[in-house]
């Protein structure tokens, strides 16, 4: 099993969710996060006071999938989240050792 952690633009959440549902991924955890990569935020000015707002709002999706589906899911996710401009986000992949479904003690891939 692997976990995909995708940091995406907040306004892309709906299309990413739709794309993942479209290929049968029906479990995910979404959180509102803030951060920046190369985008480095923007400048705001209030009555002459300048503020550099470098942490921008993003959405983080976490999904756990079987190893075999890695490339297919990454492609669907990236295609749906892409705008082509700086700030689109990143996808991180990590190994998952085990999973437990709390309701009925399913383990491993049966639990995801």
């Amino acid at each position: 099993m692997i976990k995909l952690e995708a940091i995406i633009q907040p306004h892309k959440l709906e299309s990413v969710k739709a794309a993942l549902l479209g290929i049968g991924i029906d479990g995910m955890t979404v959180s509102e996060v803030r951060g920046h990569g190369r985008q480095k935020g923007h400048k705001e000015t209030y009555r002459g006071m300048e503020y550099n707002v470098d942490l921008l709002p993003k959405m983080k999706l976490e999904i756990v999938i079987p190893n075999a589906r890695q490339e297919e899911v990454i492609k669907a996710l990236a295609d749906a989240a892409k705008t082509g401009v700086i700030g689109d986000g990143k996808i991180f992949v990590t190994d998952i050792v085990d999973a437990v479904r709390i309701r009925n003690d399913d383990r491993g891939e049966a639990a995801i």
């Binding site: 705001e44 000015t45 209030y46 009555r47 002459g48 006071m49 503020y51 707002v53």
Partner: protein
């Protein structure tokens, strides 16, 4: 409409017409009587008006007075409500949006609590100190506990509205003036100290100033025998200079907010501020046009110049900001509106629309430079720019009133020039003296008051409370509980 009601209207019209004719005949007879006694065969001598006609005339006179009182009173009560709306929610939203979200309630409370505090003080003694005749500097105690303040008009101020209306209208000014100061000490003043400060400030700065400018026999009262007659139609000196300059003193005395200017102090919701500024704009019609104290043509004149000055000020601030900083900000546009409203306040009953737009435009440009350049040059933390907008805009407006006041709008001097444009340069000097005394009283008064508050309870919140925010540390609640 059916024929019956048509007939009734016709009958009423005829009755009114005949009464009016009778009235006109008699006035003619009275004024003509000494010169042309030959006309007596047709017109009865004044002494011999039949009793029923005399009664009708008397009734007509009463009806006319009642009609005027109804009209004026309707407008003045509306104006009083509009001016209260400037404080809450107008100023509460305007200031509330400009602070960080941990201080939104504390900041709104500064405005809201004055709606209650000043009202109580006003009924007990404030009104009397402002508007009873006393010395040139402060009123006496004849109206304490609103004694003698009833339905009868107070001829010294407003002869066509009940004194109660005049009293409550003036109260709304006494509420918003200290509320304006709160912009300077936002996000760092103790609530207890704020209450004490505002109470003392009303007594030491506002009541004397209001008495001097508007009270009977007041030092600057241009209408009722002042020593230095200065024009201040709706409160440029009394409201905006006193509050704005006191705000600067507060900002300097309290020191900067923790983290200023390195940490982000971005407004948490310019949206709230836009709503607040729009309410201020609307409410200001009560403030300025209401200051005519009747529903006559001077109210219309003050209303329109207020509007045009504000419009020009918005554009003034927006264009200079656009040129200097690169973008026309929404916060800039609404700040320009407030600057324009402030600057036109003293002039609103004395100037024509084109000079009003000049005053507004100048206020927009000058106040922008003040809050975005001069403030940063000196480095004081006037958090919400109460001084930059009200102190500077008020001073500019008071001086320009002396320039643009004209007898064509308000002929208070019976045909003599009213301001520089009429040919009286001396009025500018009068305005400068009034400005200087307002500054002086505000500076000295506020310093003394802050010192007292500091000794009694300490003016500034401690460091932990400031970090936590006034909402939690002072009031035990939060403005936004979006998860509850």
């Amino acid at each position: 409409m059916n024929s019956l009601s048509k007939r009734t209207i016709l009958a009423r019209l005829l009755l009114t017409l005949s009464l009016a004719l009778a009235f006109a005949n008699v006035t003619l007879a009275q004024s003509a009587a000494p010169a042309t006694p030959t006309e007596t065969p047709t017109a009865a001598p004044a002494a011999a008006i039949p009793a029923d006609i005399a009664k009708k005339l008397d009734d007509l006179d009463k009806a006319a007075k009642n009609a005027q009182m109804s009209g004026d009173n309707a407008w003045m009560l509306t104006s009083a409500a509009l001016v209260l709306m400037m404080t809450g929610p107008g100023l509460a939203l305007f200031y509330g949006g400009l602070v960080r979200k941990k201080n939104v309630l504390g900041t709104m409370m500064h405005s809201f609590i004055l709606m209650a505090t000043v009202s109580v003080i006003w009924a007990v003694i404030g009104y009397s100190l402002c508007f009873a005749e006393g010395s040139p500097f402060i009123g006496d105690f004849r109206y304490v506990f609103l004694k003698g303040v009833g339905a009868e008009p107070n001829g010294d101020y407003a002869g066509t509205i009940p004194q109660q209306t005049w009293m409550i209208y003036q109260l709304m000014f006494a509420i918003i003036t200290p509320a304006l100061i709160s912009g300077a000490f936002a996000e760092r003043m103790k609530f207890s100290a704020m209450l004490l400060f505002m109470t003392l400030w009303s007594f030491i700065v506002y009541f004397p100033m209001a008495h001097m400018v508007w009270g009977k026999g007041g030092f600057f009262n241009a209408v009722a025998g002042g020593v230095v007659p200065a024009w201040d139609f709706a409160g440029g000196t009394v409201v905006h200079i006193t509050s704005g300059v006191s705000a600067l003193v507060c900002a300097l005395y309290l020191g900067k907010r923790k983290g200023y200017p390195n940490e982000s102090m971005r407004p948490h919701s310019v949206v709230l501020s836009v709503i607040g500024a729009c309410l201020l704009w609307v409410g200001w019609f009560g403030f300025n046009a209401g200051s005519a104290l009747n529903a006559g043509p001077l109210a219309s004149s003050a209303f329109i110049v207020t509007h045009f000055a504000t419009a020009a000020a918005v554009l003034g601030w927006m264009f200079i900001e656009w040129m200097v900083a690169g973008k026309p900000s929404v916060l800039g546009a609404i700040s320009g509106a407030v600057a324009g409203l402030v600057a036109i306040t003293p002039a609103s009953g004395f100037v024509k629309p084109m000079p009003a737009m000049l005053i507004g435009f100048a206020a927009g440009v000058v106040c922008y430079l003040m809050v975005s350049k001069v403030k940063q040059m000196f480095g004081y933390d006037d958090a919400l720019d109460a001084f930059g907008v009200h102190g500077i805009g008020g001073t500019l407006g008071a001086i320009l009133t002396g320039v643009f006041a004209t007898k064509e709008v308000n002929d208070l001097r019976m045909g003599k020039p009213m301001g520089l444009v009429d040919g009286d340069a001396g009025q500018v000097v009068n305005q400068l003296i009034a400005v200087a005394i307002s500054w002086g009283l505000a500076i000295v008064g506020t310093l003394v008051i802050l010192k007292i508050c500091d000794l009694v309870c300490g003016v500034r919140v401690n460091s932990e409370d400031e970090t936590q925010g006034l909402d939690l540390s002072m009031h035990g609640e939060e403005g936004y509980n979006l998860e509850s």
